[in-house]
């Protein structure tokens, strides 16, 4: 078991970044799928995709970079 506070903080940050990153990827592909089936209008789909793009570029460096 790892009791190093810095390591715990890093793994906590990584877990948050991973969650945010996965949510961003889902926010990039699920809304268009819903739009395709007629369940979501173009406007909200495009807004969610833009927000997801921002979220992805915030999360990805923490998720993909932390050793």
């Amino acid at each position: 078991m790892n009791h190093d506070p810095a390591s715990a903080e890093t793994s906590g940050l990584k877990a948050v970044a991973r969650f945010l990153g996965l949510a961003a990827l889902a926010g990039t592909i699920v809304p268009p799928a819903l739009t395709m089936t007629g369940l979501l209008a173009d406007g909200p789909m495009q807004t969610i995709m833009l927000a997801s793009a921002v979220a992805w570029f915030v999360a990805a460096p923490f998720w993909m970079d932390i050793d």
Binding site: A24, L25, T28, I29, P31, P32, A33, T35, M36, T37, G38, D42, M45, Q46, T47, M49, L50, S52, A53, W56, F57, A60, P61, W63, M64, D65, I66, D67
Partner: protein
Amino acid sequence: MTDLVHEVEDVEESAGSEYERRRVPEQALRGPAAFWGMYAGEHTAGTEFMIGPLFVAWGADAASLIFGLLIGNLLAVLTWRYLTTVIACSERLTLYYKLERIAGPWLVKLYNLANGLLFCFLAGAMITVSATAVGQFFPPGTVTMPTFESTMPTGPAWIISCVAIGAVMTLVAMLGYGVVARVGHYAAPWMFLIFLACGLVTLGRLGSYDLWSLLTPTVEPAAGKKISFLGVVCFSWFCNAAMHLGMSDLSVLRFARKPAAGWAPAAGMFLGHYVAWICAALLLIYWVREHGVDPAQGKDPGTMVNDAVGWAGLLCVVIAGWTTANPTMYRAGLAFQGMIPAMPRKAATLLAGAVCIAAGIFPAFAMNLLSFVGLYGTVLAPVGAIIIVDHFLADAVGIPRDPAAKSGGNFNWIVLVSWLVPVAVALWLYMEKDVFASYLPLPAAIACGLLYLVLSKVAGGTPQPAGAP
């Protein structure tokens, strides 16, 4: 994913700066993960938004797009795996050093000139694609968008857009492309999903999931602009001919621990050059069927992507263009520096950037991408055939391996003749006989390899006399 970004950067930066004139040592070798990530990112570029719609403009049918692309991409992966990576893992040298050992340093300078210029035109096409996206952020009519038939700049606003985008790209490339490589790898999974999103939204708007029927052309292409099943196979096989058959990727794959890393390009081929191309093609199919756009005129990527998925799509076009144009500019700068070693790298990159911007202003390069990438492979792939003969056949047929290294020569005329004669014939066939450019890299490479073999044998199977030192 944890260490992947670092590994990818290490491989790319090492490829540009380390072990340039010796074998890569055992401790510098890398596992396959770095290569899978690198190829996936590199082949989901801004130009994919052009190539899919260009297939539609050229009247590619459903069988060509679904099965032709599958076959062509598979052949490309097999070429990488069983030629490029086998040689890379055996020799563990850069293309430039290996070529120098066969052809002498003066011929490498000539290769660098051709390579650097072609890199600039390719990066220029990426600037053009990015400019169509940036233009969407201005009021309608501010920036006149080019069509597939445009060859000249569409107006002052277009020129300013291209110069501004190109200047930023050049500045970043001058600082080194570590940051851009990093952004590119972060962006890769997201960019692929944006392509997929464009496809999904378009399917919904077209009101059909019958891909076969949607990909079947509804109008005849313009005269002289028709691509067949074989054309699509050859295009997808040889659009990266300079990298696999032309052995440019020796510089990267020499770091692979095992030849199995040669399967890694499959990530780029089947995500970027298959799924993304078909999704991008659907964008133009929608505009043709629902808005009556003439496929020969096409529609610029920025407008189509903005309409489908909004600003996230525009961001993707800009980032996809930026992250692939920057390394291309950087490599062009290195190629120019190779010609004139006294030139500082930043000055060489600035020169490359200026050529890229000049090329980007003219939509002719981006709009003729189907022909341009074929010509790119036709000029550079034959050099790879000489390396293939040197590696696999030289000992068996009794010609010297690495002849310039053995003789100390600066200039191997056999290589020059073997390279230029097939390329000249191929370019004549393209210009005078209208042969589709992607049909030419393979015959040109085979002819080059055979000529090199025969001329070397005729010359006596001994190292060629050195050129003037």
